[in-house]
Symmetry: D2
Subunit: 382 residues, 4 copies
Amino acid sequence: MKKKLLYGQVGASLGAFIGSVHRVAASFDGLARLAAGCFSRNPESNRETGDFYGVDPNRVYGSIREMAEAEGAREDGIDFVVITTPNNAHYEAARAFLENGIHVLCEKPLCFEVEEALELKRLAAERGLLFCVNYSYSGNVLAKEARHLIRSGVIGEVINVNAEYLQEYLVDDVGAGDQAMVKLSSWRKDPDVAGISNCVGDIGSHIEHTVAYMTGLKLKRVAALMDRFGQPLDLNANILVEFENGAHGVYSCSQVCVGHMNGLAVRIFGTLGAIEWVQENPNVLYVTKKGQPTQIYNRGMGYISEEAAAFSRIPSGHPEGLFVAFANIYKAFIGAVLKTENGEPLTEADLDFPDLDAGINGVKFIHACVESGNRDAAWVEI
Amino acid sequence: MKKKLLYGQVGASLGAFIGSVHRVAASFDGLARLAAGCFSRNPESNRETGDFYGVDPNRVYGSIREMAEAEGAREDGIDFVVITTPNNAHYEAARAFLENGIHVLCEKPLCFEVEEALELKRLAAERGLLFCVNYSYSGNVLAKEARHLIRSGVIGEVINVNAEYLQEYLVDDVGAGDQAMVKLSSWRKDPDVAGISNCVGDIGSHIEHTVAYMTGLKLKRVAALMDRFGQPLDLNANILVEFENGAHGVYSCSQVCVGHMNGLAVRIFGTLGAIEWVQENPNVLYVTKKGQPTQIYNRGMGYISEEAAAFSRIPSGHPEGLFVAFANIYKAFIGAVLKTENGEPLTEADLDFPDLDAGINGVKFIHACVESGNRDAAWVEI
Amino acid sequence: MKKKLLYGQVGASLGAFIGSVHRVAASFDGLARLAAGCFSRNPESNRETGDFYGVDPNRVYGSIREMAEAEGAREDGIDFVVITTPNNAHYEAARAFLENGIHVLCEKPLCFEVEEALELKRLAAERGLLFCVNYSYSGNVLAKEARHLIRSGVIGEVINVNAEYLQEYLVDDVGAGDQAMVKLSSWRKDPDVAGISNCVGDIGSHIEHTVAYMTGLKLKRVAALMDRFGQPLDLNANILVEFENGAHGVYSCSQVCVGHMNGLAVRIFGTLGAIEWVQENPNVLYVTKKGQPTQIYNRGMGYISEEAAAFSRIPSGHPEGLFVAFANIYKAFIGAVLKTENGEPLTEADLDFPDLDAGINGVKFIHACVESGNRDAAWVEI
Amino acid sequence: MKKKLLYGQVGASLGAFIGSVHRVAASFDGLARLAAGCFSRNPESNRETGDFYGVDPNRVYGSIREMAEAEGAREDGIDFVVITTPNNAHYEAARAFLENGIHVLCEKPLCFEVEEALELKRLAAERGLLFCVNYSYSGNVLAKEARHLIRSGVIGEVINVNAEYLQEYLVDDVGAGDQAMVKLSSWRKDPDVAGISNCVGDIGSHIEHTVAYMTGLKLKRVAALMDRFGQPLDLNANILVEFENGAHGVYSCSQVCVGHMNGLAVRIFGTLGAIEWVQENPNVLYVTKKGQPTQIYNRGMGYISEEAAAFSRIPSGHPEGLFVAFANIYKAFIGAVLKTENGEPLTEADLDFPDLDAGINGVKFIHACVESGNRDAAWVEI
């Protein structure tokens, strides 16, 4: 019976911001150890990274496929892999590990095409493998509490949604044409690497997932007004949405809104109440019941539901942030992999991490927005 | 040379909320005295109101037209009239006073039809009369400061707008059909009295005006997703907007968003900076320059521009609220009427109150939204 | 039977900030008319002010005593007087009107000496006259709601109080010696006019009253650490307090705290809950019950108690500010004067305005703080 | 030349909240590996913890002294030890490791007696060992930025300080006598384990250190009003403070203030500006220059000083919290230990972690407060 897991990393060389967050998150609970990697295409960086993290040099691989096959073949091979490459490598990497019997945790967006996403789902189901797409914000305790409250009927039926994710970091690209500045993650602006969308793909998809996670509602169609400001991909989008239950709403995402950093803010309005959650200060949740004062829920307090509190690590008033949100995704995923490896059945609670369906919905959302954007914000079915 | 003015009220019987706000606002600076009225269709209420405010009983009139003609004919007739009836009476009342040479301050929306609005403009111009449409929020000092900063180029060219006006007070009407509760101002839900729109007409129009006031931008077209939830008129709307300069944005207005009261919040994003102002706490303004910390402007401080500070009445840190916003609309309007009556020329600064063009734009906006709403949120030109 | 009142003003010449706030506030409900005044020692300013407000020139007086005697003798004399002179004139003025049978509303602090305050109380009681000391912040609806909640036992027994009133406007005086800048209200820095204290007298006294108003607790003793920074009177004070019920707390008031304008903030902690109210945004009140989420009370909502809601003038979400707080003091005082003049009995609710006891407590508090400050923050009994 | 370090833990058995935060923090940067421990007095818990973390069973010790001696004697002994026991064990543990040549990171408060603290300082100096006292909040990037700005003169000379640390978790103990509830960390209420103070010792000491860290000011004397509410140790304290530069201020700490969790809030007022920082949302810092709008500094932005930004791990808008604050203490301490072990000289920047002087000041502060509290809040020199 396994008590701990081994994992590998694809991407995440020394210095890669998101890769290092993953590494810290994976080790938070002491249940997974880094044992293999294909950290970089640059051999030296690859070797140095493996060395720094104490990975056996024989398990630092020059190519993803080589790693997948070798680790899949080892008796003591990794139990799961973490994929944090740029978007264009996600699909091939994920596929390679699934084909070799290895569970996968992959950064979002899952891949470029819906067909690819469905293929990954088919593969994972066929092999009985778990797959987590890292919509990290749903790892926050109060995002989970929002879901709990909405599921419990506290706000009644959802009738309107207002959500946004605003950033300022590309504002200098507006009208800059070819002179657009090269910023951190500038590959996001390159269609070959990022895919058909920059802004909606990178951050709009977080809005889509966070709302879906909290409400359980399915999107029916979108009307997306998108702005490229002279760049190859979108930098700004205002999107009307319609859900299958008939509710409407608006999603706004932007990389050109001065004064905003990672401003994911979600407001869900129902017939009986409303919920507001803001990622930049994730330790509070605003809950209002019709006609009553707004209540400020505080992570870590006794009134937080058991299912959300299960992910709370430190007392209320001690802020938890992005690292902990990631760690909570890992906590659920690692727990589920451990059970799976040990042949134990999984409950719904065990599966509280974003799965391939979340990934597939994300790819569909991006495609629908881009198509709508190309057609002057006409409605496009998801 | 006149130093003070006389005015009359149409509507505003004792107990009418908005009417009493107008009365207080008109008297704030001691420059106008209530001298006539047609306060109510109910003769007793009409008489009582006149009596309470010390109006000469001979100048308490049974009909609007009678009042307009009598006051227009008196040597000491009122200089201006304040119209605060339900929407459906605005046009006829305004017309009657203009025809009798009396300046008009009228609640918004100005009237039902664009043609009516244009007719009022024609009449006022012909007679050389001033006309104020009471988009009261633009009376706030920091709404004026926002306009000043945007005009001064502080945020560069506007590239995105995100504005909303959310309320919760009609949430019980959702799905209630004919049983919908009768609330304060329930005439707003009656098409015969309110016109073709409830939510967009009442509060969406404030978004439209506030953004136009601050930015000077003209709306080109709208795509409005509107919800009636089984009622005769709209209760909720999410609206994509396009301005003549090419900038996009979204306006959301709602009377079914639990947790919000009079939540007018305006965020203007430009190439160099951004501005945010929230009506419920109007004494602060958030100003961010690209790459810099957000600054919290405080009404009454020395760094506020002269043109905005001219409307600041008490020191910083002493909150000003709705009464003062109204009083500032009156301050500008009364000042302009005094100059006009005294034959003095008017400067642009003298005209810092919402005029007939603002009123006309409001009527056009409401019509375009309703048409778009009826056509599944198709784009409609303004 | 009187339906309306006449009143006079002492001080409040054109241009005096606080005087004009009083004039607007007195007229808010249309129940009192300005009929006499001694507005300024400067005859021209005195005359102009009377003229501007339409006061009969025969009732514009050259001296306070002349006004008190003449108005007291008239058949149609003023019912009450409003005193808004600098502090050093309060006592003589208040005394003159009381001696002539006229109710008094006086700015705070009531007077310089405790004996003077007691003498005014004796006089008022003897003549059956009402006396209001304008601790204006207690006019706010949510200050009243705080009082209601605490009285109702919502927070249990008070065990700790943390309150402050911070301003920045005199920071340039620190270390400036005789070169200290002359600011608005610079008479506050002159011991002959302001009395023995500047900062504690002007704003510390508001802390003292607001806490007393909300909690009903009596102060037992204070230990005041006061800073003059080289000026004749205090600019900064940190004060330990002990109440008669044994609870402790701290009051901080300052005119040298950069970033604060009129930052009166009161936090009352009890065995069952806590209340927080901040004057600069007076339309919300934070109420927390032990172990529960903090609730944001919103003025104007249905859950506000009847006794506080009686002072709410406009719907929730429309901010009320300083003018309305003043107007509410007047509403209660005018109501009580009307009843008194008409021989009607007064209920406790009728007396919801700060009275001579409040004024006396204020003078005692100032004296105790100054004495403590002079003795290195030793405890001084009130 | 060492590239990584080995460390041991004293305390921090599985399930101990603060111990697990230390373990995560120590591993954040991948530069230190847990190699030894004396995790619990309970042999089973001790063994299980070592086992869980993969510590060699031969290096899981039954007593602190045994561990110190054995590790001090090993060729590959630990480089530093982390002490997270209850307070009463700190001194003996720290002493044992210093005597065996091992660097120490110890939870605060450092120890019970000033003499003990001085003895530790003597020992560390004698052996050339580094010693970190874990005042963790100074690990926050914006606490460092506050220090940078104050040192740079941005707020001028400090003239007033207002700081607090409020919690609600012991409010049920008020008046409960022997029935006081046993809460998490209930040893804090036991004088034998916690020392002479509960509230001031646990959280008041964080105020003292945070202010000292940011301002560099030394406390001269305190006047502490302390409340035990019938319990053996203090639950609430309001403390007047005087600094050596003559500035005054007030510190409030409490475990009975409903609505507050870990409410450390620090406001430093100077002649030119002011700074405010609140631990519960540590990613923003409020900076106000005299007469200017308050600025909201955001961790991770380009305007943050180099010395503070060196500790920023993820982009602005992604919240960092308590784990990262701890990790930053470790980052500095581990860096300094590495340099020391490698014989490299240490710069001032290398020493940006709380040292024995901080620990000594903390012990002095606690003693002075308790003495003052016992003498009715008389002034006590530090």
